[in-house]
């Protein structure tokens, strides 16, 4: 705060106040705070840095361990160019681009981001981003309810368990056009949803069928077949996808998805303990007016030169108030810029290369682990970057046993699925080396030999 005492005196005089306290006389005395806030004393910058850095030093970041943890957040390398661009203050310290003539930088970057998401998903229109994967799934369901004027949701159990929890929470109040009806969960078997069960679950009240590929447990779902099931029932098909997987796996637009959503954390976003990340959403042109959140379009200025603006704002809360398609009034603009720069860094060739590299490494580790006595295959069929195995002991025990060796073995699937306490979910990014994977397999073998051999299992 720049004011000197003299500035304050001059300014008080200019506004006709006798003191700073005098400025607050419109607050009734009985709701004024008559004591200082009970907070710790302020700190110098050096002291602040010391205290907060000490907190950071108490953490053991996964990025510095041999981490096989995934489950929606992946330890991909974030190139320096991403940090360099997003830390430019003209991007970092700007507001939502309400004055387009002075915000062409962020507007054009969002337009480019929308283009990149359309390319990835094979769909026509992308919004400017959403909070995260879980809230994007909820928004997709609202969109489907508005489109179909139905209120049922059929969601595969292979959709991230926390996305499903967010969906249940945020639709509890019901929503525009009567969503909040029954949410039916279709069980998945060894990482894959049964199409027969899916067919049984949909009916004439189903607004959306939501399936994730790869599934939370790593299976490559039959998305084209599921889309047909949804469409036969007059429902929209919502595909929850991993953006890096789209370097290798078919684009949602090609298998009939009406909405593609997901979390773009794998695109150049630090894991950052779960946020900030960003959700993405893309749809065919016919659904443009139902999209939630910000949307940037290209237009011309008074002289006929091209430029960019926020558009279709009549969908939004600041115009439509209670009739808006969503209450969202921000996006994750800086995260969208990071995702865009990352995709530009990877490029047309790099994305498939990265996806292939992850899948090769995952395949290698799966082979190695299945050679360990007692470890069995769990995820059915081919996988992309993540797979689950069945262990002869609780997965939590393995995670705890390998932690002191600097290995994060993966996620105990029992945390989210009843009866899955012996299932370990394992992710492999390009950052894992063969040496690290061999060490993981050996450490697991050694632990299991002791644990099962010693009769403690």
């Amino acid at each position: 705060m720049p004011h000197s005492d003299e500035d304050v005196r001059d300014m008080l005089a200019a506004v006709g106040a006798t003191s700073v306290d005098d400025l607050f006389h419109e607050i009734p005395a009985h709701v004024r705070l008559d004591r200082p806030l009970d907070l710790p004393e302020g700190l110098s910058e050096d002291e602040l840095f010391g205290e907060v850095a000490a907190l950071a030093a108490r953490d053991v970041p996964a990025s510095e361990l041999v981490s096989f943890l995934g489950a929606g957040v992946y330890d991909h390398y974030v190139p320096a160019v991403v940090d360099a661009i997003v830390s430019r203050s003209e991007f970092l310290t700007a507001y939502t681009p309400y004055q387009p003539e002075r915000s062409q930088g962020v507007l054009q970057s969002i337009f480019e981001y929308q283009t990149a998401i359309c390319e990835l998903t094979g769909l026509d229109v992308s919004n400017a981003s959403l909070y995260d994967g879980g809230t994007a799934v909820t928004e997709a369901v609202f969109l489907a309810a508005a489109r179909t004027r139905r209120d049922g949701v059929v969601v595969g159990a292979g959709v991230h368990p926390e996305y499903r929890r967010v969906l249940r929470t945020e639709t509890a109040g019901c929503a525009p056009d009567g969503c909040g009806g029954a949410i039916v969960e279709v069980p998945c078997h060894e990482g894959l949803t049964s199409m027969d069960a899916l067919r049984e679950a949909v009916d004439e009240q189903t607004a959306a069928v939501v399936l994730q590929c790869p599934s939370f447990l790593g299976g490559l779902e039959p998305m084209a077949e599921a889309a047909t099931v949804a469409h036969d029932a007059g429902a929209l098909f919502v595909a929850v996808v991993d953006p890096v997987s789209l370097g290798l796996l078919e684009a949602p637009g090609q298998y009939g998805a009406d909405v593609a959503v997901g979390d773009a954390q794998p695109l150049g976003q630090p894991m950052s303990y779960g946020g900030p990340h960003l959700g993405f959403m893309a749809v065919p042109s016919k659904l443009t007016r139902l999209l939630p959140g910000r949307l940037v379009g290209r237009t011309v200025d008074a002289g006929g030169a091209p430029g960019y603006v926020l558009t279709f704002q009549t969908r939004e809360q600041h115009i439509r108030r209670e009739k808006a398609t969503s209450n969202i009034c921000s996006n994750q603009a800086l995260n969208a810029l990071a995702a865009l720069v990352y995709l530009g860094w990877l490029g047309k060739q790099g994305l498939p290369e990265l996806a292939t590299l992850c899948s090769r490494k995952a395949d290698y580790l799966r082979r190695r682990l299945l050679e360990v006595p007692g470890v069995e295959s769990f995820t059915q069929g081919p996988v992309f970057r993540e797979f689950a195995v069945r262990l002869p002991v609780p997965a939590a025990d393995v995670v705890a046993a390998l932690e002191p060796r600097g290995i994060l073995a993966g996620l105990d699937a029992g945390r989210f699925y009843d009866g899955f306490d012996d299932i370990l979910l394992i992710a492999v990014t390009e950052r894992r080396t063969r040496e690290q994977m061999d060490a993981f397999a050996e450490a697991l073998a050694a632990y299991l030999a002791t644990a099962t051999g010693g009769g403690t299992a």
């Binding site: 108490r58 387009p100 809230t135 030169a305 600041h318 108030r321």
Partner: protein, 493 residues
């Protein structure tokens, strides 16, 4: 290169920036090959560029943008204050940015302690009892708070349907109300800009689930009847929701809990100085009275009792077993990277510094109001708090609207205020200078207002055709809707 060249236009086949590690695993046939029908049929047409192309392109785009570091940014209700540099350095520490959300609790004690302390400070600032850091933004906090109110009523065996909202409210309020399954009921303002008490009395009844209020409101005025409003709503069985968008006016001066509010959301990116990022990421922590605590989203951070969950080095852990919880508002725990900056902001200022934030924010707003009050209509002539609203109606005599004033201010090198909000003031200009602008900067801003109004008198076309000095002239928003171009097309140039 023309001004609108995109990264896709720069693409040249075979060019690249990325370096990826070599494949170090044996090149075997996959044990389970991915069937051809699941494989991508044609590649995503991402740009093919070198790293220098990327850096030059986005550096150029950044120069077309305007941030707090470019100059004054008096955008009302948005609190565009300076974002301290050290907070960026802190949030980038690997011990924060490298954490995975599913790491074992013993590896994340620093992060948990930071969040636990931040919760405590937010409770003290709000004058309330318990907090969740989960919501990703202010509007997301609103939805969280309303779902908490809903859960509370349901637990009481009631299902009131109406949420009362003054006509000065942010557009997110009614949109969030509908999303939470309530009905929004608008109540008008009185001649002093506060809630009209007679109008309020006539609508509060058994069906009143609650009332949402921003205080000071979007006119920058403190509602003097707040205690009476709270009593009225509470007596009917309703709850009070505080939209914390304007908390920058009252830090250490008055607390929402003491005013009678039961739920508060803060906008970390406004009040606690975290950068807005061109529209996000933000953070919208929610603080509640004790009666609402059982319903908070999971997980909540609790002290480990040292039992089976924790060894000696586990002091804090996440608690999921909360049967009355509304559930989960976000995939993980919140925009943690933003919360680190908010922690650092509050910690560096302390109680005294936070109070000075509001003192100087209010002083600055009043100073600018004094400097421009003769130029515009002043619909509510009271002491303003951290922002004020004036009307551009007097300029209509020159054929000039508020929109034109805003566009011409851009030519003068400052960001204009919020325009056409709140809706109840015609041709509204909503000005929030914030505490981090110096007297000289405020004088410059006042000077720009004065110059633009003089130009309106002498040469209105200068305003009507503004901006003149920017990379683009006034943009055709109607065409953007009628002929939508929402993505780059290779053939579009």
């Amino acid at each position: 290169m023309s001004a609108h060249t995109t990264i896709f236009d720069l693409s040249r086949p075979g060019r690249r920036a990325a370096t990826l590690p070599a494949n170090d695993v044996p090149d075997l046939e996959p044990s389970e090959p991915i069937p051809a029908e699941l494989l991508r049929s044609s590649p995503a047409e991402l740009p093919e560029v070198a790293e220098i192309d990327l850096v030059r392109h986005y550096t150029r785009l950044s120069t077309l943008n305007y941030g707090v570091e470019s100059g004054p940014y008096p955008l009302g209700s948005c609190t565009m204050k300076y974002n301290p540099k050290v907070n960026e350095r802190l949030s980038a520490l690997e011990g924060f940015r490298g954490l995975h959300p599913y790491q074992p609790d013993d590896q994340v004690q620093g992060a948990l302690l930071l969040m636990k302390r931040l919760e405590g400070w937010l409770c003290e600032i709000a004058g309330l009892h318990a907090a969740t850091l989960q919501p990703a933004a202010g509007a997301h906090g609103e939805l969280t708070g309303l779902l908490l109110m809903r859960a509370y009523h349901v637990a009481q065996g009631r299902s009131p349907k109406t949420i009362i909202i003054p006509d000065t409210a942010h557009g997110t309020n009614p949109a969030s109300v509908v999303l939470a399954g309530f009905t929004a009921l608008s109540v008008q303002s009185d001649e002093r800009g506060g809630v009209d008490m007679d109008a309020l009395r006539s609508v509060v009844d058994d069906d009143t689930a609650g009332l949402m209020l921003t205080n000071p409101n979007t006119l920058g005025l403190f509602d003097e009847h707040i205690t009476e409003i709270a009593e009225l709503v509470h007596e009917a069985g309703g709850l009070l929701y505080y939209d914390g968008a304007n908390t920058n006016a009252v830090l250490g001066r008055s607390r929402p809990g003491d005013m009678g509010f039961d739920v508060v959301h803060f906008n970390a990116h406004k009040t606690f100085g975290t950068p807005h990022g061109g529209g996000g990421p933000g953070a919208g922590p929610v603080v509640v009275r004790d009666i609402l605590e059982p319903f908070l989203p999971v997980p909540v951070i609790v002290e480990a009792s040292g039992g089976e969950d924790g060894g000696e080095d586990v002091a804090l852990r996440f608690e999921y077993d909360r049967p009355r919880s509304i559930g989960k508002m976000r995939t993980f725990y919140g925009n943690f990277g933003v919360l680190v900056r908010a922690y650092a902001y509050i910690r560096s200022l302390g109680a005294e510094g936070l109070r000075r934030v509001s003192d100087m924010a209010v002083l600055n707003a009043n100073y600018v109001l004094e400097g421009v009050r003769d130029l515009f209509g002043v619909p509510y002539d009271r002491r303003c708090m951290h922002e004020f609203v004036v009307s551009g109606e007097p300029l209509r005599q020159y054929g000039v609207k508020t929109l034109d004033v805003a566009k011409r201010m851009l030519d003068h090198g400052v960001h204009p205020p919020t325009t056409y909000f709140p809706l109840i003031v015609p041709e509204a200009l909503m000005v929030e200078p914030t505490e981090t602008e110096s007297k000289e900067s405020l004088d410059r801003l006042i000077g720009v207002f004065r110059a633009v109004v003089e130009e309106a008198e002498s040469d209105p076309d200068l305003l009507l055709e503004a901006p003149h000095e920017l990379p683009v002239r006034r943009l055709d928003e109607v065409r953007a809707v009628r002929q939508p171009v929402l993505r780059h097309q290779a053939s579009s140039d």
